[in-house]
Amino acid sequence: MADRKADPSPIDADTFLEGLWRENPVFVMLLGMCPVLAVTNSVVNAIAMGVATTFVLLASSVLVSLLRNLIPKQVRIASYIVIIATFVTITDYVIQAVSLTLYNALGAFIQLIVVNCMILGRAEAYASKTRPLKAAVNALGMGSGFTIALLCLGSVRELLGAGTLLGFPVFGENFAPWVVMILPPGGFFVLGGWLLLFDWINQRNARKTEEAEVARAG
């Protein structure tokens, strides 16, 4: 069990921030794509899905981290899945109790949080190797990164597809909605568009650094 002792490094800002940008689960790691594309046809759905996923991620990360010395290595994946499935069942029933409209809009995708690779990936790669508090901070960061990514998609799709934001009309009477944005292809196009934008920014930054270095050397 010596290999699973908590790593001693302190909790710093990076523990939280890496999930937001450098290792953003959606835009950088391309994990958990299914809910990202399926439920982001409106801002409300995107927020609900983001919060639900963050809750499951946070709770299961803490529990996995607490139990890290009790779970035998051979059955760890199965144990993690059972832990995650338990919290998803809780979330499922809570959403059903709080808002039936929301529950119907999200459909099976609440239960499908179980198979969100991001959560299992975090449990395996991070929470099982670290202290509960640090795992919690990291899970919150990852969850926020996930929610922000969902919001990025949801706002663009709702704005273009229905001409509204959070249900309020934005563009006035004469706007003809791009219905395709709300339909499935729109999800692929908008996510592709965001990835293009981020690739472009990264590439430009890389070029700038390179030019600066050349200038300094010359």
Binding site: C34, L37, I81, N116, V180, F188
Partner: protein, 194 residues
């Protein structure tokens, strides 16, 4: 719901409401394993097989759970069944076709976290399909998944030779391509009643 014929259920799952392109289930393998045509084929067939096994098991388990009023255990029971089905397929593939086993690599155990399979089990429960309808639904979903991933792999092999701007290479390009493919499948929407 009982009025739906088996053929309609099959076509509905395979084409009209294609699991990948219309319902967004199983996007991870769809983007990850669609680089080469023959790997995509094997991935599609392996996934279809797991779908069929887990659909039948899920039907049996659901009847037991409903009988004992233990519906809140459904999710945990389903995921356990799927994990075992994947293990079974993995072992038999290792035994009978080691080449294929190596080609699929890490994606084989990852079928467990393929949402298309859990989604299939959940949808057939929500729609209260009987045994034969569940089997037709699973076969349709498998055929749809295979169709989507093979189409995508064919397109991506062609795309390797295309001259695209360097910024759009990789994931962004693949997603745009998937969007166009999905747009094409929208054309089938008129066939179904949903």
């Amino acid at each position: 719901m009982q009025a739906e014929s088996l053929g309609f259920i099959f076509l509905n799952a395979a084409i009209v409401n294609n699991f990948v392109l219309a319902l967004f289930l199983g996007i991870c393998p769809f983007l990850g394993v669609s680089g080469k045509l023959d790997t995509a084929w094997s991935m599609g067939l392996a996934t279809s097989l797991v779908m069929l096994i887990s659909s039948v098991c899920a039907y049996a388990i659901n009847s037991v759970l409903v009988n004992f009023e233990l519906e809140f255990l459904r999710l945990i029971a389903y995921i356990a069944v799927i994990a075992s089905a994947v293990q079974l397929v993995e072992m038999s593939m290792k035994r009978f076709s080691p080449g294929l086993f190596r080609a699929l690599g890490i994606f084989l155990p990852l079928i467990t976290t393929n949402c298309a399979i859990l989604g299939l089990a959940l949808f057939q429960t929500f729609r209260e399909y009987d045994f034969l309808q569940s089997v037709a639904y699973a076969l349709g979903a498998g055929a749809g998944f295979t169709l989507a991933i093979v189409l995508m792999a064919g397109l991506r092999e062609k795309l390797e030779l295309a001259d695209v701007p360097s910024v759009s290479q990789g994931a962004a390009m693949t997603l745009m391509l998937a969007g166009i493919l999905s747009l094409a499948f929208m054309g089938f929407a008129g066939l179904g009643g949903h």
